[in-house]
Amino acid sequence: MPSSNNLRKQPSRSLSKQDELLSIQTQYFVKLEDLKLTRKQKCLRFVYDTDTKKVMGRTPTSWSKIGLFYLIFYGMLAALVAICMWVFLQTLDPRIPKWQQDASVIGTNPGLGFRPMPKDNEESTLIWLQGTNKANYLNWFDNIMEFLDKYYTPGKIEKGNAYLKTCSYTEWPTETEVCEVDVKDWGDCSRDQFFNYYRSSPCIFLKLNKIYGWTPDYYDDPYDLPPDMPKHLQDHIRNITRLEERRNIWVSCEGENPADVEYLGPVQFYPPVQGFPGYYFPFRNSEGYLSPLVAVRFLRPVSGIVINIECRAWAKNIHYNRAERMGSVHFELLID
């Protein structure tokens, strides 16, 4: 760089203050040869200056020096970030999230999800069934199977060292065990029946979001049920005589509006307990753990009409807010 050359030139001792001033002044002067150049020539000179061999204002040596600097700088920075990240990762447990439930943003209010998910339009929650159209119901069938695959072949994903246990209300899993979710003998809502999609009385599968360490607080006292709980669910709970069998997260599905209720018709649940049995909770990120499922079968929904359906999960520590879709799930059903 020319400026650097100027800087390096130490003024000789004999140079008086005035000379210094004059030599400083000359730095401001427009170089006469510069005036002759056109804009284009100046640009070209910038790209490659034949006199100084400068490419884009720097000589190749200069470029390599600055390149080396940044190589070292970024190299060291990357190393530093890597160290920081490593230190951070050391603070994490591979199986247990650092922040859980209320300490975490995820909270203690698990969301409810449904399958099949409409795939053609991501923004939509409409299950549009054309019962006579085989392509259509096979489509939905594949959609569900994609989800249920791991339930039908549990060992397929987990590499098999988890101990699958067939749990019951009396036999809860130990720390090392996970409960089996048996979807094979769900009658009309089984794979063999094509989940009844071809009969226009489809099964919708519900599942609760997994939250590490979350334990439900059951509605197990038949005389202490919330007033907004559907009547038939209250009856169903009261009909269960054994206390341990009432330790379920109950599920209800209804039409959102009175008209929807009417169009929807009767609903059948698998497993018949109409809920997620308590022995599946809490979720401890154990290998082979599968979320419990509830299949809802709409026996005779009116066709040709979009029916708004809301399913709710019931436990004392699942809060419900329709607007924010808390503790519930919403979808539409249209059967042609």
Binding site: F69, R325, V329
Partner: protein
């Protein structure tokens, strides 16, 4: 030819006899103002527009030159203007005329406020933000048309962006308008009253209401209210300094003495001062038609150059805008093609990239910084008209200064005496520097006191004598002020009443009075003063050491030597003589006749010489030195005589070495034989300048270090300033007269004098020195340089956070991770947390003696250069981005989304219908909860930026010194740190913020994670500065010092 100056000016040896010639030149130069200024400006305009308007101007000028009102008989003039010298104009007609065309200068056409506002609204970065805002609204509309429940984020963003543009524009417009208003108030002239004859009655009206044809009277002390022709006058004198810059009282009388309107005695011009006598006159031209009005108007049309700081900011805006559009375009296409994003999503990226790239608050910061400095300068009596001019002085590499009134006091002072055959220097600081007891001196005192028309108008003991107001011309005032110190002149005059008087006239070049000496029993004495050689010619004796010796050749040689010596110093030399009249011929009570002198004016006794000079202001020599050591060249450009100019230049350090003419005289060669390298100093007269073309003028500026231009006309001042600029300098021009205005306008920064300056010069200038003190310029240079440095620091500080703002969007597109920083948060930083800290850097004190540094080279030392961009964008910015991402990853990881899991997650993450997104621990997140997590991670990112900006603020305090040297004395900066921190706490934890800015309260642990990076920034930068200090010529200094 008529001169205003009573006495000629001595020029020393080079002059051949006619000492008056010099003064004539001065006058000629001065009077040619009109022609040359106008012609020059017209020429400029012609070049600029080549249009009809230029022709119109030339036509205007022709009209000016063809003026005949001073030539025609008065009666014809009366009938031409339908007026009557006895009754004046009928007031009804006059008032109607005054309504139509008031007698005042039309203010310069200002850009209309609306246009100014629109320019700020759409100029600079505003356009980019408009684009961003409109795109955001379009994005919302598209979104809304698909799904009426679409989140309104984009709508809010659009509205906020547009609001930001509007608010910042209103702010900067308001700032500019405020400084404009200051000036307007300043320029508001005091309403002048004027005596006018209308309907046969004299009355007093506002000068604004004068019309052509009015008969008026002007008395001393008044400002001439229009261009007028004298009808009757009694010892009427005007001071044309507002036109010519030369303060001389010029007599005015009814006779037409010259065809040239500028030289004839029967015209007086608008805005000049009547200093003596009274006159009645007829108004010829009013308002804009006056001579001053024409110059003022044409000066207003000279195109003002772009200020250096504006140039720098434009360069910077181009750079940043280019970068923003370039990155925006690349990532938009990348998102659309490679990532197969929806148009809407890509649009959101584009907006984010634009918003991140634009430092929204920066222009406001710069405006505030400049305003603060302007306020600081106002305290030092420097008023800044144009905010940006604050910095221009800092970039100045050459000052072209007028002499009179700027470098000098514009007040003649006795500097030397010559009597008893020796020169006595008068030094007010030294008592008894000359022999007061000698008879010769007593005689000099008597002559100066008694042969004088000057009197004190006030005798205010509280003020120093030199500031007392006097009537009379400059030389006589200087003399009576000098004499007053010896003995009050009123006493001397009382004892010696004046009985006869021959006033000065241009043929005699002397003035004579006869006084009665009461102490000596009523003896009469003739006193004479005048041009030394004329006075000497009338003497036969000389007073030497109390004795009247015959004036022989030895004494004449002595006189010649002293006269040459004093003249060579550029001083105005006056000769004094006397004659004690014989009481037998002139007994007490003798009737003297002034008209037909009946007393001897020859055979006098020569008493001695007074040498007067307009001395430099006391602080000027040191100020010039300060400028020079700051690498600023000071060039004197004056209308004054070369010798005087040189003498003053030497005494104020503008010339320090042998000049070309001195060298030539020493070597006995002609000046043209002197090689440019041989001498460092040169005095160029207007005469020589006239023969040079632009290139030769430029060569002089290139070849000589110390330059004085003397005897220059206003047009030549303009040429000189242009040449200095074209050589590559940033030029400041100081001046006070109308004749300086074109140069003031042409300069990069024009500095006018507040007290001595004319309104025209003030309106042409960018800066006004209220106390007329040249040393204020030095202060201004210092402030200008400091603010340039500090704005640079502010920019470095502000630009750094662009990288941590920008990278989230880039990574968002490239790696498809959930957005690490929202656009609204970028605005929170740019317009919130970063604002005050950036402004506080304007208060930062200088790192080193900035006045020992050379001025910046406007071609190389850019405000924003590639080194600054490298350090901010590629080094500190990257470090900051790392801190931000680290915080983001920690929050995500702590909640279950490990870094490796995040890649490619964005699409599902942002899908409102996926309510069970799995994290690395198998937990399933609803849309709502993971959006909350996103907010939290973004808030952590935001917090990290604020925290590393703490460090950034501290490293930006200095460019070279360690923070340990500089200290933390800037209390605004400390308050800014506290402010910044409080703001981020509010943003994070205050209720309502989560709705407005989508922030989420953070666990205390996340206040720690970015701190290592802040420390790293401090360490890294301290190391860089250490190496820079240690190896001033090293690679680091050359590549990493901005």
């Amino acid at each position: 030819m008529i001169r205003g100056s009573i006495y000629s000016q001595s020029e020393g040896t080079t002059r051949k006899g006619s000492q008056i010639l010099g003064a004539d030149d001065a006058r000629n130069t001065a009077v040619s103002v009109a022609v040359e200024v106008s012609a020059k400006v017209a020429e400029n305009r012609k070049r600029l527009k080549q249009g009809k308007s230029a022709k119109d101007n030339v036509a205007d000028l022709k009209e000016e030159l063809n003026m005949d009102e001073h030539l025609v008989p008065l009666e014809e003039l009366y009938s031409r203007y339908n007026t009557n010298v006895e009754t004046g104009l009928p007031s009804a007609i006059a008032e109607k005329m005054a309504d139509e065309k008031p007698n005042r200068l039309t203010p310069q056409k200002q850009t209309p406020a609306v246009i100014k506002f629109l320019l700020t609204l759409f100029g600079g970065f505003s356009m980019l933000l408009w684009i961003g805002g409109v795109l955001a609204i379009i994005a919302y509309i598209i979104d809304y048309s698909r799904d009426s429940g679409a989140p309104r984020d984009n709508l809010y963003l659009g509205v906020v962006l547009i609001a930001v543009v509007c608010i910042t524009s209103i702010f900067s417009y308001y700032q500019e308008a405020k400084s404009d208003a200051v000036m307007k108030g300043f320029l508001k002239m005091q309403p002048q009253r004027s005596h006018v004859l209308r309907d046969g009655k004299w009355s007093e009206v506002d000068a604004d209401f004068l019309v052509v044809g009015d008969i008026i009277t002007v008395t001393y002390g008044n400002v001439v209210p229009a261009d007028i022709r004298i009808i009757t006058a009694s010892s009427f004198k005007v001071d044309n300094s507002s036109l010519t810059g030369e303060a001389e009282a010029l007599s005015r009388s009814p006779e037409c003495t010259d065809d040239n309107p500028m030289e004839t005695k029967n015209l007086a011009f608008y805005s000049t001062n009547a200093v003596e006598g009274t006159c009645t006159a007829i108004v010829l031209r009013t308002g804009d038609d006056t001579f001053i009005g024409k110059i003022a108007r044409l000066v207003g049309k000279t195109k003002k150059k772009e200020t250096p700081i504006r140039k720098e900011i434009r360069h910077f805006i181009h750079l940043i805008t280019g970068l923003a559009l370039f990155l925006g375009a690349i990532f938009f296409t990348l998102a659309m093609t490679v990532q197969k994003q929806q148009f809407l999503q890509a649009l959101v990226f584009l907006i984010g990239i634009i918003v991140a790239n634009v430092p929204e608050g920066l222009l406001a910061t710069v405006t505030v910084s400049l305003t603060l400095t302007a306020r600081k300068m106002a305290k030092n009596n420097v008023i800044v008209k144009n905010l940006e001019a604050v910095e221009t002085l800092g970039s100045t590499s050459c000052i072209c200064s007028d002499k009179t009134g700027t470098l000098t006091q514009n007040r003649m002072t006795v500097n030397h005496l010559w009597y008893d055959l020796r020169v006595w220097a008068v030094d007010p600081a030294v008592e008894d520097c000359f022999q007061k007891e000698h008879n010769s001196f007593k005689m000099l005192y008597s002559i100066a006191t008694l042969n004088s028309r000057a009197t004190f108008e006030e005798t205010d003991q509280s003020k120093p004598l030199s500031e007392w107001r006097t009537s009379g011309d400059a030389s006589e005032s200087a003399l009576i002020k000098f004499c007053q110190q010896i003995r009050p002149i009123s006493d001397a005059r009382k004892d010696n009443p004046k009985v006869a008087e021959i006033p000065f006239n241009s043929t005699n070049k002397y003035a004579v009075t006869v006084c009665e000496q009461r102490d000596e029993g009523g003896r009469f004495v003739v006193y004479m003063k005048g041009a030394p050689e004329r006075v000497l010619a009338r003497c036969s004796k000389i007073l030497v050491c109390d004795e009247e010796a015959p004036l022989d050749d030895t004494y004449k040689e002595h006189f010649e030597k002293a006269y040459k010596e004093l003249g060579g110093l550029g001083e105005r030399v006056l000769g004094f003589a006397y004659h004690n009249l014989d009481t037998s011929h002139y007994p007490p009570g003798f009737q003297f006749d002034s008209e037909k002198p009946n007393f001897p004016c020859e055979g006098l006794v020569f008493a001695g010489l007074y040498a007067l000079i307009d001395p430099p202001r006391p602080a000027v020599p040191s100020s010039v030195k300060a400028c020079q050591s700051a690498g600023i060249r000071v060039i004197m450009v004056t209308g004054d005589h070369p010798l005087t100019a040189k003498a003053i230049a030497r005494s104020v350090n503008i010339i320090r070495d042998e000049t070309v003419d001195e060298l030539a005289a020493r070597k006995g060669i002609s000046e043209s034989q002197v090689e440019p390298g041989e001498a460092k100093a040169i005095v160029v007269s207007g005469q020589k300048l006239k023969e040079m073309d632009e290139e030769e003028v430029q060569n002089i500026i290139r070849d000589y270090d110390q330059i004085v231009f003397a005897r220059t006309s206003p047009q030549q001042k303009l040429v000189i300033v242009e040449a200095v600029q074209n050589v590559g300098n940033v030029v400041a021009v100081t001046g006070d007269g109308v004749n300086d205005s074109p140069a003031l306008r042409q300069a990069d920064i024009g500095v006018a004098m507040g007290i001595a300056g004319t309104d025209v010069s003030k309106s042409a200038a960018d800066m006004i020195l209220l106390d007329d003190d040249f040393s204020s310029i030095v202060k201004g240079v210092e402030e200008g340089r400091l603010i340039f440095d500090n704005i640079k620091k502010s920019i470095a500080y502000t630009l750094t956070s662009n990288i941590p703002e920008l990278t989230p969007f880039l990574v968002n597109v490239l790696l498809n991770i959930p957005l690490p920083l929202s656009t609204i948060m970028i605005l929170c930083i740019d317009l919130g947390t970063d604002m005050y800290p950036a402004i506080s850097l304007a208060y930062e004190s200088a790192e080193s003696d900035i006045m020992k540094r050379r001025p910046r080279d406007s071609k190389k030392d850019k405000l924003v250069n590639n080194k600054l961009l490298q350090i901010t964008y590629l080094q500190i910015g990257v470090l900051q981005a790392c801190a931000g991402f680290f915080n983001y990853l920690i929050v995500m990881g702590d909640h279950g989304f490990l870094p490796k899991h995040l890649k490619g997650l964005r699409e599902q993450w942002d899908n409102r219908n996926i309510n069970n997104l799995r994290d690395s621990y198998g937990q399933e997140w609803t849309y709502e909860s993971r959006k909350n997590l996103e907010s939290m991670a973004q808030t952590a990112f935001l917090l990290a930026i604020v925290q590393v900006q703490w460090a950034d603020l501290i490293i930006c305090k200095t460019r070279m010194l360690s923070i340990l040297h500089q200290g933390m004395r800037n209390k605004h900066l400390i308050i800014a740190l506290i402010f910044e921190t409080t703001l981020i706490i509010l943003l994070t934890y205050a209720p309502g913020m989560s709705v407005a800015f989508r922030t989420y309260s953070l666990k205390p642990i996340y206040w720690v994670s970015a701190l290592p990076f802040a420390c790293l920034i401090l360490l890294f930068d301290e190391m860089r500065k250490l190496i820079i200090r240690k190896y001033p010529q090293g690679w680091v200094r050359r590549n990493l010092y901005y």
